[in-house]
Amino acid sequence: MIPPSFDYHAPRSLGEAVSLLASLGEEAKLLAGGHSLLPMMKLRFAQPAHLIDLGAIQDLRGIREESGTLVIGAMTTEAELLGSALVRSKVPLLAEGASQIADPQVRYKGTIGGDLSHGDPGNDHPALMLALDAQFVLTGPRGQRTAPANGFFLGLYSTQLAPDEILTQIRIPIPAAGTGWSYQKLKRKTGDFATAATAVLLRMKGTAVAQAAIALTNAAPTALRATAAERALAGKALDAASLAEAARLAMSICQPAADLRGDVAYKTAMCGEMTRRALQAARARAGT
């Protein structure tokens, strides 16, 4: 299980990384934590001639708050997200999601930026970012641009990132105080991708739903925002009938790929169940 041969580059600055990527072109791949790319290279699913390791670029790490926004460097690891008091207090949904990714060893290496750039619908951050209405800062030879999470994921391993761009920063609007949250993930074992998972942010007004954000992992070629389910809940109490309707609407947009985790009907049903559980858990945490 040795990866194919490649040349290795370890730029010390973002500028250097951008010019390397521009000059090496599509023969190059960016190396973040390496826990998706290296396994794919071992299997010859990816055979880049060059790897550009972003690990030495300090500017790509770190978590800070900037006037109501949580700003996260793309090379921040899952372990760093989990260890961050800022993440736990301001965006607990992100901590709950990160705690369910892979296993401890992988979380020390795996990065939020790598997870998002990879465009794998089985990864957990895409749905978390959709539910949180995050923005992504993309840096390339023409400068920086910002892309909303909603619309960033185009298909299996396909995103809005141009081949010469690097995802450098994730910007998450900090949810209002009293917002409930939950990430419910069904997996066969530690380290497996989700059979189905649902991210929920929920604001209540009295006993009625003021606003719900619902996003689905591994239910289709990309993470999905379940907008019809969100709309159906607005103004309603979260009871058996409204939960069943939200789950039904979430299931109606599922197009999972059948694999060893289950067939289409089972995965779709589990997406409905994860949606129901995430809404209930978020309700229990929401202020009124």
Binding site: P4, Y8, Q105, V106
Partner: protein
């Protein structure tokens, strides 16, 4: 062949260097170039954890880390746990609590447990199971591994200098 890189790092406190192709995985450098055969190759797909070593204060699966990524790193393997011929409290506890049968997963278990106790010196059973979830054992059923980690945690708490 790709350009070779001369990678220098610290292994169990000693300066080491190896001239490697970029595609060489850390586990191969450790085992085949540096003679540190404590870390085992299990699945080679970052699932089993037998190859777990400590790198810059992180538990990593050395089958999924390139040696070139470790330039300047501080790497600790199971060979580095004992002190002056005496077993580390974790090694002693795995022995006393029967935390192994065939022993293949043990170096990875020890290195992961080592980092877990550095970060959380008195973990609950649930925290141990969550914190060790990246290491598979096909013999023990994990019960005695959990007991061993708990026992080592108690001993280290009583005698912190042994850490």
């Amino acid at each position: 062949m790709a350009k070779l890189h001369n990678v220098a790092f610290k292994l169990n406190g000693k300066a080491v260097a190896a001239e490697v192709e970029p595609r060489e995985l850390l586990i191969y450098t450790l085992r085949e170039r540096l003679g540190a055969t404590g870390a085992h190759i299990g699945c080679e797909t970052s699932h089993c954890g037998a190859c777990t070593v400590d790198c810059n204060g992180m538990s990593v699966k050395s089958c999924t880390v390139l040696t070139v990524q470790c330039a300047g790193a501080d790497v600790l393997t199971v060979e580095g746990l004992e002190r002056g011929g005496a077993l580390h409290a974790l090694q002693q506890a795995f022995h006393e609590e029967h935390g192994l049968q065939c022993g293949y997963c043990t170096p990875g278990m020890l290195m992961r447990a080592y980092r877990l106790l550095q970060e959380n010196p008195s973990p609950s059973e649930a925290e141990i199971r969550y914190g060790m979830a990246g290491n598979l054992c096909r013999c023990t059923g994990y019960q005695n591994i959990v007991k061993a980690v708990q026992s080592a945690a108690r001993k280290l708490a009583a005698k912190p200098a042994a850490a």
